[in-house]
């Protein structure tokens, strides 16, 4: 379980996070909904320790990120997959190398086994046969699927998705949404989905929170009033 306790962060006079608290239970997806520019990505990066916070604490399965050493943070991160809005695929590596990198870095698996695992992951994300392609030859939606595959490679307990469907056409958006649901149902991946898209939030979220002006609140239902 991930516990986010009273996170606060400000840039000069701009309050981005104001006593933000919520929990991510086992095998469930929590959606953070909110308009662009409200600090959703900062929240996600703060939870994983990529961005510092002014106060508050994040606890991953009993271990506090704020009190952890660099080595402990790296151990925590091995249990988290992170899907960036920009996908952040390594453009000097092909698809196989992108997905295989965490396996190569953190396991003692042979190249052959890693190759097989990558092929399986590509099958799961619906991108079989794309091993040799480089990110620049992929569409935005395909990059998103590969990025999810890379986040899934180490079989982490949690996956964080930063705007996973933004900028995608409806068909590709449905594909990404279905993949997120499948990873939760079939592989019990908990996580956080940050989005401003109501349909995505409704489709994937077990619990939905609204972040606005630094404050967070749990939503009971989503309608047009969600942004009100």
């Amino acid at each position: 379980m991930i516990e986010i306790k009273n996170l606060s962060k400000r840039f000069d006079s701009l309050v981005v996070l104001d006593n933000v608290s919520f929990e991510v239970p086992e095998a469930s997806l929590v959606v953070i909904l909110g308009p662009s520019g409200t600090g959703k990505t900062i929240l996600l990066k703060s939870i994983i320790g990529l961005s510092s916070v002014d106060q508050g604490e994040v606890v991953f399965d009993g271990i506090s990120v704020q009190n952890a050493s660099k080595k402990e943070i790296y151990e925590i991160r091995k249990n988290i997959g992170f899907v960036f809005q920009s996908t952040a695929l390594f453009d000097s590596m092909n698809v196989r190398e992108n997905i295989g990198l965490p396996l190569y870095e953190h396991t003692t698996l042979s190249s052959k086994v890693i190759k097989e695992k990558v092929s399986k992951i590509l099958a799961i994300v619906g991108m079989s046969g794309k091993e040799r392609l480089y990110p620049q030859s992929l569409s935005g939606g395909m990059k998103r699927l590969i990025a999810i595959g890379r986040a899934f490679a180490l079989d982490p307990k949690y996956i964080f998705y930063d705007e996973p469907t933004t900028g995608l056409d409806p068909v590709m958006r449905d594909k990404v949404v279905q993949l997120i649901i499948d990873l939760k149902k079939n592989y019990r991946k908990s996580g956080i989905v940050v989005t401003h898209d109501l349909d995505t939030a409704k489709a994937v979220g077990d619990e939905i929170y609204m972040l606005k002006k630094g404050k967070i609140g749990k939503l009971k239902s989503i309608g047009k009033e969600g942004y009100g």
Binding site: K45, I48, L50, I73, Y74, E75, R77, K78, I80, G81, F82, F84, S86, A88, L89, F90, D91, S92, L101, P102, Y104, E105, H106, R150, L154
Partner: protein, 245 residues
């Protein structure tokens, strides 16, 4: 940032890049890639530069000395000039222009496209993943390139002297070998080792410090070349002071 803070920041960055778990089995592929990129990739341009260094230094030396001293002194002077100074420094400046800029641009682009953050989220230390191979690769490749440059420059110098200055190969070679001091050769190599560190460290440092977009990436590449070039000249003086002073 004042100069002292900048030096402290640069030094901290360098030590963070080196004094980490090297995990050689996971880094060796990238180290070999960098040796190939810096070494083999720069070979054509280094050979061209060295050719003209050898030719020009022979012309200048003969212009100043012929008639005043025995002809074999041309071989001796060109040899020492190339080994002590011209070989190491021109090779380093050329590699700085070619490699420090590309390292800064590549890492800077990775910074602005969140690829460095991606490494962090995957629990991969970006200092080990990106900087270590570049620093070690340049450290290995630059001295080898320097030796090749010196060899090419001396061959071309000797050939020019033989063809146009009426100094036979054996006379040039006599001057070159008779007055050869191992300190000259190894002094030049020590310089190139120091130069390799500032080239790679500057490229990585300015790449890591990029904030913003394409414009900042361009600036980082420029800063990397300018800084490493200045540091090369400063280190050239300091090492010369220690070894030859």
């Amino acid at each position: 940032m004042n100069p002292f803070s900048a030096i402290a920041d640069f030094s901290t960055f360098f030590f963070k890049s080196i004094f980490i778990s090297w995990q050689l089995n996971k880094s060796k592929g990238r180290i070999f890639n960098q040796i190939y990129y810096v070494g083999i990739g720069s070979l054509p341009i280094i050979i061209i530069i060295a050719t003209f260094v050898g030719l020009v230094s022979t012309i200048q030396t003969s212009y100043q000395l012929i008639g005043a001293v025995p002809r074999y002194i041309v071989g001796s002077s060109v040899g020492r000039m190339v080994m002590i100074e011209l070989g190491p420094i021109l090779t380093a400046l050329m590699i700085s222009g070619r490699c420090a800029s590309s390292m800064a641009a590549e890492i800077g682009t990775m910074r602005v496209t969140e690829q460095l953050d991606a490494l962090e989220t995957m629990a991969i230390n970006p200092y080990r993943f990106l900087n270590l191979p570049r620093i070690v690769g340049t450290f290995v490749a630059l001295p080898i390139l320097t030796v090749i440059a010196e060899f090419v420059a001396l061959i071309c110098g000797a050939a020019y002297a033989h063809k146009f200055l009426n100094i036979p190969f054996n006379v040039f070679n006599y001057g070159l070998t008779h007055f050869f001091v191992t300190r000259d050769f190894f002094g030049g190599l020590v310089k190139s080792l120091f130069f390799s560190i500032v080239i790679a460290a500057s490229g990585c440092y300015f790449g890591f410090r990029v904030k913003g977009g394409a414009r900042e990436v361009g600036k980082a590449a420029t800063y990397a070349v300018v800084t490493s070039s200045i540091l090369i000249l400063v280190l050239d003086f300091l090492v010369a002071l220690v070894i030859f002073g």
